[in-house]
Each structure stands twice: as C-alpha cells, then as structure tokens.
Amino acid sequence: MKQIIAKAFAVATVLTLVLAACATPTPQTVIQTQVVTQVVAGTPVETIIEVTAPPATEAPQQYEGVTINVLTFTGPQIAEPLQRRGPEFTARTGATINVATVPFSDLYQKALTDFATGTNSYDIIVFDPQWMGDYISAGYLEDLTDRVNANKELEWEDIGPFFRDFSATYEGKVYTVPLDGDFHMMYYRTDLIKTPPATWDEYIALAKEFQGKDLNGDGKEDFGTCMAMKRAAQSYWFITSIAAPFIQTQGTGEGAFFDTSNMQPLINNAGFAKALDIYKTLSTLGPPDQLNLDVGDTRGLFTSGRCAMSLDWGDIGPLATDPATSTVIDKVGAAIMPGTKEVLDRATGKLVPCDDKTCPYAIDGVNHAPFAAFGGWSGAINAASKPEVKDAAFDYLAYVSAPAQSNVDVTIGKTGFNPYRLSQFLNREQWVKSGMSAAAASNYLGAIEGSLNSPNMVLDLRIPQNAYYQGTVLDTAVAQFLAGELDAAATMKQIEDGWNQKTDELGRDSQLAAYKASLGVKK
C-alpha cells in the first residue's frame, strides 16, 4: 500500500510539474473565428462567423511587443467586445491585449487598490465614470485631452455631447474614452398597452391591471411590473429614477441629490417620501421575490414575457430581439421614464402642483426627469503606465470606440454597449439589420433621444466616494425600507444622516465644489 501511495504521489508530482511547465497560451495574432449559437426552431444551430481583422499594414507593426492589460467587470457585457476586438487590434498594430475581469461589486476597490499601492498591474480600466472623482483627485488617470484631439478615427464630435462631458471630462480635461451610453427607460408590452404611462400614478394603475394575469400564454400568473429591487445590486439607481421627477424641475444644473448652495441632501422631503411610497407599492405589483431580483433576473423575466412593464437601461431593446432568449420579439416598446404632476417645492419641503413656474420643462403638464444612471462604461488609462503602453492603450480604446466598430457592437445585446454616438441614433439601418423591426428601432432610439435631449435630465452622482453615498447608505436604507425594517421617515433620516456624516468627513466645501463642477456639464 505504501508503494501505491508513493507511486500516486510521484505521478501527482510529475503531473504538477508538467502542468507548471505549460506556458500561458501565446496570444493569437491571426484571424479569429467566432462560433455563434442561435436557437432556430428550438434546436441550437451553430453559425460560424469569420471575424477578419483589418488587413495588416506592410510597415513594421507599430506596437510590436507591447502588452496592454485591461481590467473590467465580468461579462459578457463589456468584457466580450473588449476581448473580441483584441485580436483585431493585435493584427493591426502588434500589441497584445489581455482582458482581466472581476465581479462588478469588486471592480471599484480592485482598481483603486491596484493604483494606490503602486502595483499598477493594469493599463486600462473600463469602469463607471461616476468614480472619476476618486481616481482623478489622487492622480491615477492619464489626461487624454491632447490624444483625443489628435486621433481622427475616434470621431470625438460624433459622440453625444452629454457623454463627452459627463462620462469623459473632469474639470475641463478629458480622462476617459466613452464606450457606452446609459439611460434609464421604461419598457412596456406593446401588445398589452397602447399608450405608455406618463406619470407614476398611471404606471401603478397599469401595473395593478396586469398583475396576476397570464401575459405570455403559459398558464402561469404573470406580473404588472418587474424592477431590480435587490440589495447591493441596482436598486439605488431605480429609487433615484422614481424620485427624480419630484425633486428636479429647473433643469439639469439644479441637481437631484444635493442642494447646490449648502450640500444638504435632498432626501428628507415630501418628494422623496412620495417616491418611497411608489417604490413600496411597486414592490407588491411584481414577482413575489422582487426584493431579491437584480437586473439580470428582471431582464430575463421581461424577455420571456412575464412582465407587462419594466424599468431598465438600454439593454432590453436589443435583448428582446434575440430569438434565443426572447419570446416577445416585436412586442416591446420603450418610452421616457414616467414623471409627475406634483413636484417638490424646495423652500417648504411640500409637494405643489405643476405649472409654468414650478415645472418649466413639463411636457403636457407632466414633469419628466430622465436619469442618466451610471453614465456609460468608459475606458481610462493608468497614469503610471509606460509611455509606449499608454499610446497603444489609447489607440486601442479609440479603435473600440470608433464608429466602424462601435456602431456594430451597440446593436448586439450581449455586448452591453448601448447607443451613445449621434451616428448610432441617426442611422436606423444597422438596427434593422440586427433584427429589430423599423418601427421598434424608431421607438427604441426615439426614447433614448428623448431622454438625452431633455433639458431636465438628471445626472448621476459624480463626487468623491459616491460609491459610499449611493452603494452603502442609500442602498442599505432603501433595502431596509422595502423589507419593512424602517418606515419612510426613519429611512429618509438614515440616508440624510449617513450622507451628511460622510460629507463632513470629507469636507463640505470640497464636496460642494465637486458636486457643482459635475453639474456644470454641457448638453
């Protein structure tokens, strides 16, 4: 027996050594074939798509021998197009692209820890532009203004002005290359609902009407609304989407999170209380475990036909056209986020009806405040990387963001890239080619454009430690409210206290300055 064990051990050792000797696979610089599996008539069918890289130039490859390390979160969203475009870029320039991914909730601290401790394992981070304040004030990101102006392929002017400013510019300088555009929208089943709801009261009424009915013909009861209310997921963006039309009426510069004169949180007031009330009501008009659903679950529910309405970013549009996962192809409409006819009077803290003075931007008497939640995934470059790596990294980001590549990627739901370039809005053709009907494309893009062009659009919070304000304080308190651990008054107080304490800790004046600077973006 001892000999058998000894032999097994020897084998294991040899195996280990052999495996250890296997070098990491060499990067490919050749044409990549991509296998796409689609379900046709219930049977998965594989189509092989040859993705050819642009013809390599005869001149010696510009970035031969340069390796670029990219960090983003685990896909397929965002990571997939970055990985796919890598070999193409390699064929073009000789640089190698390595994409590393971590779960989304770990991305913020992983990148910051890497930069702050001087490890510098990553040259590019593709991240949430809301976090720019923390990264830039510590000097971790490279100033890209000159490079952006010099690179023609990027077509900087084609990027929507809003994204150029919010997602990319900080204190006048450009620090990121936008790859994606983000807006919250409302989606609804066009076969069930003829006119999308314009106010939250109408939304609730419609949800009540459809809750419990069978909406996709499978005999099971379905739901009026599906929202991602899970804690530590996306819930804190959705509560802001609901509260925004109550709180912001005078245009983007007014701000929806803090008072721009003294940095007091705009939380403890009748508007936010009404929003909490709406959120609570909606939690009863959806799936029974709605408090445990994140945006992945709600998208799946909507595309399998189980929800009459849903709130989401731009992903549902392309996802609903994918026959592999969607049973509601051509039955999905998108519209601007519902608004309200009663808004907050900031001086008194009470709700007042909408009129010309209180709601200058109202549409049909309803104040809308579409929320540019998140901003849009953008790529930034590590200031501590080597100069030739920085050049190569910028060229790579420019390549991925260039219209030739980006306009294709935004039509594919799996990439997670949503429209952010003017050419993507104007050119309906590529959407139709990807599987949307012309009417659906117009409707979907029209909703995004309507949100983008709204003068009362709400910007996401982009001050230092916003992750704490939103992800820790707001999210936890709202989760406790939904679970019944806190009532509305206690919730608002908890958020207000938490925000104030952090603001005081970091310096009220500097936070106020950062907040005002982030609101001063052009449209």
Binding site: A116, T117, L291, Q480
Partner: protein, 386 residues
Amino acid sequence: MSTSVTTQGPTPTGSGLEAPSRIARIQARLDSVAGSAFIMPAVLVVLLLSIFPLIVSLYVSLTRLQFVKGGFQLTFVGLDNYAKLVVGIDKDHFLGVFSNPAPIGWLLFGLVVVWLAVWLARFVRGPNFSIGGLVSRLFSGLVISAGAWLIARTLSPEGRPGTVVVTLIYVFTGLVVQYVLGLCLAVLCVQQIPGRRFFRVVFLLPMMITPVGVAYLFRMLADTSKGPFYPVWDMLGLSNTSWATNAWSARAAVMIGDIWQWTPFMFIVLLAALESQSVEAIEAAVVDGANRWQIFWAITLPGILPVSSTLILIRMIEAFKIMDLPNILTNGGPGTATESLTLHAYTIWRTLDIGGSAAVAYMLLFIVTFVGVSYANEIRRRLSEA
C-alpha cells in the same frame, strides 16, 4: 528562541561499546535540536502570516483611508471606527434595534443571570479560588450577560437583531443541527448493513463543493419561480409569496444551505470516532441486559465526547466566518436581515473604507476568541475532572 525543550520519549544512544564516531556526534547534535527543528518551520510560517497582518489590521482599524496624489494615506482617528459601530451611525446595523424584551426574553435573561451567579458562587467557595481566576470569571460573566441582554432586547417583537446577533444565531443553530444530524447519520452508518460504503461516500459530497458554488446552487434551488421546488410551492399555495421577503425565512434559507454543506464534516469525524470505539464495554453491557438506548447514552456518547468537543470547537470557529451564502443568496437579506459579521465587513470594505471594515473584523475576532477560549477552557476543565 530560548524555549526550553525537554525531550520526552526515546533518546538515541549508541551501542555503548565503541567510542562515539564523528557521525554519531553529529547525529547526537542534530537530535538534540530535533525539538526545535520539527516545530520551528511551522511556527515561523504561522507567525509571519498571522502576527504581521493582525498588528497591521489593528492599526488600520484605528485609521481612515484617504486617496492622495500618488498613493493613499491613513489618518489616525482613534476609536472612531469602533464608536461608529457601538454607539454611532452603524449601531442599528451592528448591534440591532433595542426594545423591551418579550416575557420569554425576560425569563431567559433571568435564567442566564441566575446560572452565572451560581457558577461564580461555586467557584468562590470551591477549592481552586484565586484572585486571578475570580477576575477572569467576573469578566466572562459580564460579557455573557451583556450578550444575553443584547439578544433578549433585539429579538423582542419590536426590536431587530443586528449583524452580531444574526451571526450568533447562524453559528449556534447550525452547530446544534449539524451535530445532531451528523451523529444520527453516523450512528446509522456504523451498523453492518449492506450499502454503507455507498452512503459514506455520498454523504461526503456536499463538503467537496466550493462554498461559492454551493451558494449559487442554493440560489438556483430556492428560486420559487424557476427552481425545482416550484410545484411544491404551488401546491402549498405559496406561489405568491417568497421566502426572500421575510426576514426569518431568508435566514432559514441561509441556515439550510449551511447545514447541507457542513453536516458531512460532522458526519465523517463522528463516524470515525464511533468506528474506533472499543467493543468490549458494549458487549458487557449487552450481557448485563442493557437496551440500545441505554448503551448509547451511557457508553457511546461519553466515549465520543472528547472527539465531539474538538469537532465542535473547529466547526464553531469556521462557522463564525459565514459569508458566501448570505452574500449570494440575498446580498444580505431583506434589508439587513441575513447579514453576517463577515459580510458586514466585506460590504464596508468594497467601498474601500478599510478602517471601518477592520473594526468590524476585530469585533468579530473578539467575539470568536471569547467564545472559543471559554469553550476550550470549560471543556478542558471537564475532561481533566472526568
């Protein structure tokens, strides 16, 4: 390190007749340091990887992290992070919401206090009285009664348990259920029945899966609209409710997952212990006419008591660190209902408030050390008395 090592056991001697050769002298020299040589590598590795992080963590828990040009900066803030947890803004999250205990809460608290008083009195009157012992026992008593008071006040109808109490619930409920289940299964499996090898292997399986995998597995299983139990839910008329929205059902889901995963650990150790018990005592008891229950209580159970106590200590220490299940099943539960202490520390750490996170982790360390040391002392005392 000037540890004094007395060797117990065989000391090599030469055959005595020849003059000690050089090799024998070297060998003797090596043997004399064998005591240190055997243990020092392990001690050094553990020291490096534990003392150093422990001290650094303690320091970090007294600071606040800020990002500055080119790096980061730790500003000393004293006990601020701890104050936040115990009396400050995080108190409700950490300790819980207090309110008047229910009658049963009063009763249990009263019982605990009375028992502690009796225990103290017995020690004072007992033969081993010493000032040091009295002080340490008073301290333990204080901590235990504070804990009981915390539990009584937060588990009351109006109160809400914070992460400390939730973690304690997870640990002790899990321990009890896992032990009882493991023992039952081990007792049944030790019998000479065909197919025991099959059961032994199968019962080992849950422990082999990575905890993250187990958490996702249970998330899949517990999904009441897509998971395999949907027909059962439907039949029970529960298809319109969800376990994820009620605090206690969510906690139960976490505990079920934990029990499923770790009962094999108890099972396999207890099985080995049972199998290596001597048979003569049992045979004698059977001859004397004892039935199976009496044999079990009087002979088997005391026989595996030493093993059980080690097992429970090891499992208890691990159980305090539960994190993957509440994190993945519910991200901390409806509100903060299923959040354990490690998960609490982890969520704080994700926003890079490492000072706050280290403070929570240190509080957990205090609690675990207190429970572990008290438990180990108690067991050692009982075993040495037995």
